[in-house]
């Protein structure tokens, strides 16, 4: 287990640095769509919710909590990606107008 923890901390550390470097380069123009996009991406927690709800012999409590969790996460995924795209479609340069 301790080697597993070590591995996970490495993954976390590297992902954080990648995140910081990549996000630092995002234009302030796009900070609002960025936030809705990262929000949709972090709704990947739906995977965890599916595994909890779908476990063999899941208790009723697990199913109910998992059901609410999947619903919330899917709402975030669907609305997050769609609204990000809706916002980005509005950003036009002068030449592209008309």
């Amino acid at each position: 287990m301790s080697s597993n923890l070590e591995l996970y901390l490495y993954v976390f550390m590297l992902a954080t640095f990648v995140g910081l470097e990549v996000i630092r380069k995002v234009s302030p123009l796009l900070h609002t769509p960025l936030m809705s996009l990262t929000n949709a991406i972090s709704a990947i927690s739906v995977v965890g919710a599916i595994l909890i709800t779908g476990a063999e012999g899941a208790t009723l409590l697990s199913k109910i909590l998992g059901f609410i969790a999947i619903t919330s996460a899917v709402t975030n995924i669907v609305s997050g990606f769609l609204i990000t795209d809706r916002m980005l479609k509005m950003f036009k340069r002068r030449e592209e107008k008309k």
Binding site: N4, I23, T32
Partner: protein
């Protein structure tokens, strides 16, 4: 097959990173959304097909409801309400993480398979962050929707009470890690986390919302990340870490743009403290009509428009586009100066102006535009206040001293559209309004811009 899903997760993680990378410019940003969607579909599809999944009715029903709720939110929500939607989605994301943690805790107890210390630490962090972000984000949403008062809600010994509450919750968390079978502790722990989330956000004023939203974004990400540790899933760790670091960077940018620290935003109760300091003496200022404003604007060579939260409140973005078009057609150089904390969330003004079809190369960041104000004929301020206050540069006693501002006072003429002379949200008087070159235009932003527009075409014909 069971192994295959792990490789699919690696592809998803790579797509998520690319997705954020492509957000660095508007040219590639939509490709970024596509990459994110693909990564998400792969991860969900892989999980459903390759893992041993039961209870399909529950899962499919949840997917159906989530989609049915998500689509209208994405398409019906007006752009002015984007900060509220963002707060709501932080709440949903955090709730999902917290509930998965809760379910996992009870499952392991019912099955008498106690979780290891490592999983319990992750699970406690996941639920603590998840529950407090859930209620905290709901409070933020209430303030943004103006269901709750935007003014900070404060009471005696607030910081002490909040801190004690947090210490008790953290103590119960430690106890849960040591003795995971103590099931009665969990609801108390969760309840305290929920309560702490409420108490953490209610003392924070509306003007600080950009920082708070970014910070809650970070917490929601970290909570998903902790879920990855607890459920042994590296994709969750990576996606959560990306979201967490994004929120962190945005909150640092917001704090810098207000010259304040995290602790000050979270525990300062800004507006409340300053309200008592409002100067009461009468100072003289000049006001002008729409007709005068129109003639000043049409004789200008360069105009810089400074939008603020008032623009969002008045929904004036489309009228401003008309003004932009009208002036541009006359050969006037029109730009927009965007302060990082203008509006109620990072990038709020850019989205509103883009919605009104204003080309994004006309939207300038503070650092790029500030050197241009001395050559600018007219600075037109619409619904912005504190971010234009020259006291931030000159008056060491001012509560906003040191905050980076837009140097509009260096423009040749300053026009300010404002409802009245009452000081802004933070209760600080703005020296800009009393300068000789400043003309106050009293009225609603949308109505006043329409008035100016009515004056402009007739003059062109004459």
């Amino acid at each position: 097959m069971a192994h295959l899903v792990n490789y699919i997760y690696i592809v998803s993680a790579a797509l998520f990173i690319l997705s954020l990378k492509w957000m660095n410019t508007p040219v590639t940003a939509r490709r970024g959304v596509f990459a994110g969607e693909t990564g998400m579909i792969l991860a969900i599809g892989g999980t459903l097909l390759a893992r041993d999944v039961h209870n399909w009715t529950w899962i499919l029903a949840a997917f159906f409801i989530g989609t049915a709720v998500g689509i209208p939110i994405a398409y019906i929500m007006p752009m002015t309400a984007v900060p509220q939607r963002t707060a709501l989605s932080h709440a949903c994301g955090a709730l999902a993480a917290a509930l998965v943690g809760t379910a996992e805790f009870y499952r392991s107890n019912f099955l008498h398979q106690p979780l290891g210390n490592f999983e319990m630490v992750a699970l406690v962090l996941e639920t603590l962050l998840g529950f407090l972000t859930f209620t905290g984000s709901l409070m933020a949403m209430g303030k943004l929707q103006e269901v709750l008062p935007q003014r900070p809600i404060t009471y005696k010994n607030q910081n002490f009470i909040n801190l004690s509450l947090f210490v008790i919750a953290a103590g119960l968390g430690v106890r849960l890690v040591l003795v995971p079978s103590d099931m009665w502790i969990f609801p108390v722990f969760a309840g305290l986390a929920l309560l702490f989330g409420v108490l953490l956000i209610i003392p924070i004023g509306g003007a600080d919302m950009p920082t708070v939203i970014a910070l809650l974004n970070s917490y929601a990400g970290l909570s998903a990340c902790a879920m990855g540790f607890a459920l042994d899933n590296k994709l969750l760790v990576i996606a959560g870490a990306l979201d967490g670091s994004s929120g962190l960077i945005l909150s640092i940018i917001m704090c810098k743009a207000m010259n304040r620290s995290f602790t000050n935003v979270l525990f300062g109760a800004f507006g409340q403290v300053q309200a008592s300091k409002t100067a009461t003496q009468q100072r003289s200022y000049r006001s002008a009509s729409a007709e005068e404003a129109a003639s000043i604007l049409e004789s200008a060579g360069t105009v810089v428009i400074v939008p603020g939260y008032g623009l969002a409140v008045a929904q004036a973005q489309h009228k401003i586009r008309e003004l932009f078009d009208n002036l541009t057609r006359r050969g006037i150089d029109v730009k927009f100066a965007i302060h990082p904390v203008a509006g109620r969330m990072p990038g709020h003004m850019n989205v509103l102006l883009a919605e009104a079809d204003i080309p994004y190369d006309r939207l300038k960041e503070m650092d790029d535009i500030n050197s241009e104000f001395p050559q600018c004929d007219v600075a037109l301020i619409i619904g912005a206040n504190d971010v234009t206050n020259p006291a931030a540069r000159t008056d060491k006693t001012s509560p906003i001293y040191g905050m980076p501002i837009l140097d509009v006072d260096k423009a040749r003429t300053v026009l300010v559209i404002k409802r009245s002379m009452s000081p802004g949200f933070a209760g600080i008087d703005n020296d800009l309004y009393y300068m000789d070159k400043t003309l106050m235009l009293f009225g609603d932003a949308k109505a006043f811009v329409s008035e100016i527009l009515k004056e402009l075409p007739t003059r062109a014909a004459a």
